[in-house]
Amino acid sequence: MNIEKTDRSRCLNESLKASFLAALVAFALSFLVLGVETRLFENKVIVVPHWNYVALIVLTVFVMRFMSVLFSWKRRKPSTDLKRAKKSYFSALFETKFENLLKIFGIALFIFAFFLPFFPFSGRYFLDLSILILTYTMLGWGLNVVIGLAGLLDLGYVAFYAAGAYSYALLSTSFFPFLIEQGYLNPVIMNWIFWICLPLSGISAALLGISIASPVLQLRGDYLAIVTLAFAEILRMILINWDELTGGPNGISRIPHPSFLGIEFNRSPEGFSAIFDLEYSSLQRLIFLYYLIFFLAMLTNVITLRLRRLPIGRSCEAMREDEIACRSLGIDTRNTKLTAFAIGAMFAGFAGSFFAARQGFISPESFGFMESALILSIVVLGGLGSQIGIVIASIVMVGGVQAARRLEFFNTLFGPDFDPSVYRMLLFGLVMVLIMICAPRGLISHRTPSILLQKKKASPADLTLEEQR
């Protein structure tokens, strides 16, 4: 009894101490950043204090820290072995259930996504958002090959996205038109330009991936991350400064849109609506774009899932676990890493060329570090290696912020000028911190084996035979 009491008071003491310290740090940080605002007033600088902000932040930090320490203290108590055994039994039971649940959820999600354009509530805005989410899902799945499967931290994934977009833009606006002008090619191919350039831009992104990865693959972990980050920045600088080729900061415009089996979406007599005897609507192109990215994303999904079960995918995973053991078994880890990099880059290239074809206009602005960070956070939040986790994460990270912008709720709370998208980064950080605290291995950290040994069960036929005897 007495022990319990002292324990409780010690717990209280410690939480108070920790939260006081945290509040002090919060005060030191917020005092200068939020507490004092300098304004120019009649050619003089005046200081406008905002003590209410500071007080609010310090108080929030104090309360949160207090709660978190109190909570973790309770959990720190050692559990008995029996309890632990029971728990592991239940978690094993839960795991098989969970796996089935995930499967059902995945199928439901697929069906929902497949019929999405025909739901009554899917208007223009909703479709646009869904296309964006699917693009990020595809990028997440692609990056997952590099990070989740091979364990290579790539912070410059957006470089390959940019490479795909620019390859498509350059091929379709200058290279092929030039060949047609010179009479080497029939102008008819311009109808099919997207389908010709899609694989080409995937290949060019993959080649770029190989060429940057090959000199730096001896580097590990943080060093590789830094080099890939720097590389993406260098590529962006090249895109901005090489005016003659890339159009510099103005980018490239009038990029041809994708066609449906060579049929364009326009008002002309050869257009989609005229041929299929429909009334022209700009929604038709949007629906087509939606199915296009849906198809591309599903292709990525199927290939990356299949890859895991192939020797290459398995050796990627093994390499992530223990590179030296891999080499002792005769696996060329250098080639394995290059393959993972190239495959990841290729999917980014596909997504990039879709992006260019959808927008019709690209500029280096779309390929900054924030894109890399967004894709990376989608992969990390989703749970490294989990396909469905990535879908959920991209819905939350991309869709959530956009949806928040449309909610009246925020405006009634914070006034009519409140724009949630300004707080996007804040939300990012908050979600990241929360997930890292609650589920350090991502939303879905479950790993399914790539191959299973089927145990031979006595078949029902054998049983009945024995019973008869």
Binding site: I312, R314, A318, A325, S328, D332, P449, S450, I451
Partner: protein
């Protein structure tokens, strides 16, 4: 000049002392000549020459820090030796110069596969997956075959089934077939040791190098290990090199023993020969292992 002469003399003397039984009608699978490995000023391996013979179990023994693991690392390409030559002979007459090859290529093309002193399994992957990873090179012979797997081509499916059968065969052998779908890291220690050896066997070695395979095993597990090693030597015609501290195990299963001390070879021959070698007795004098030898 005279110094090298002397060294040559002494090493040839040692070779002369090699008893006829170990050499009987056998060709060396591995020949090491004047191997030197220096770390800064320290010569962890100092001019070692020896031969390893086909279908033998060769034990490398010596006190802690004698350079046994370093010797293995040199053979398997994980360290590039400072000096010396390592030749591997295949039955068809091909000779490989291991000191010039990359570590993974040594395993892939000369079929010299090793295990590690501290177990290096892919702990998060299942037992079966560990064995499948070891058969990577068999499954992916060419770039085309790597691609064909994506489309479940019949050739790939057949190869994968073969690989699965081999994995099942070895799992059956070490009694882990029931745990095939469990993460390798969740196995008990003794099973992990056996699994690592079997994983190396799935890479289809001609020469298997085991770094302290019985370290940390209880007597029961050690005898299981002995059975496994003899089985590998006899039924699969694989030559085995192993580093071991447990003298009773060494004397029981090995055909040939090489003794290292301070990076130098001090004895080389059959177990009986080594046991009575004054040089070995001197090196082990004062250590508890002496009682184990005699």
């Amino acid at each position: 000049m005279t110094a090298t002469m002397e060294k040559n003399c002494s090493s040839s003397q040692i070779n002369d002392r090699l008893s006829p039984k170990a050499e009987a009608g056998k060709n060396p699978i591995l020949q090491v000549d004047h191997l030197v490995m220096r770390f800064g000023g320290l010569a962890a391996i100092n001019d070692i020459s020896c031969s390893i013979f086909h279908s033998n179990i060769t034990a490398i023994i010596g006190p802690n820090g004698a350079g046994k693991t370093t010797f293995f690392n040199c053979l398997t390409g994980f360290y590039k030796p400072t000096e010396g030559m390592i030749r591997m002979h295949h039955e068809d007459g091909t000779v490989f110069f291991l000191e010039r090859m990359d570590d993974f290529r040594i395993s892939a093309s000369t079929n010299l596969v090793r295990t590690f002193q501290n177990i290096r399994l892919f702990k998060g992957m299942t037992v079966l997956e560990n064995l499948m990873v070891a058969q990577h090179n068999k499954l992916v012979r060419t770039f085309g075959s790597a691609i064909s797997g994506l489309f479940c081509s019949s050739g790939y499916v057949a190869r994968e089934r073969e690989a699965l059968d081999l994995a099942k065969y070895w799992l059956d052998r070490i009694g882990l077939i029931e745990s095939a779908n469990e993460p390798a890291g969740s196995l008990p220690y003794g099973s992990q040791r056996r699994l690592e050896i079997v994983r190396a066997m799935c890479a289809e070695p001609r020469l298997l190098c085991l770094d302290e395979p019985a370290a940390g095993l209880n007597p029961n597990e050690t005898s299981q290990m002995n059975t496994l090693l003899r089985f590998i030597r006899d039924k699969h015609a694989v030559s085995i090199m192993l580093i071991e501290h447990d003298m009773s195990m060494v004397m029981k299963i090995s055909d040939h023993v090489i003794v290292l001390d301070y990076g130098e070879k001090i004895s080389d021959g059959t177990p009986e020969f080594v046991r009575n070698d004054p040089a070995v007795i001197a090196a082990y004098l004062g250590t508890e292992d002496l009682e184990n030898i005699n």
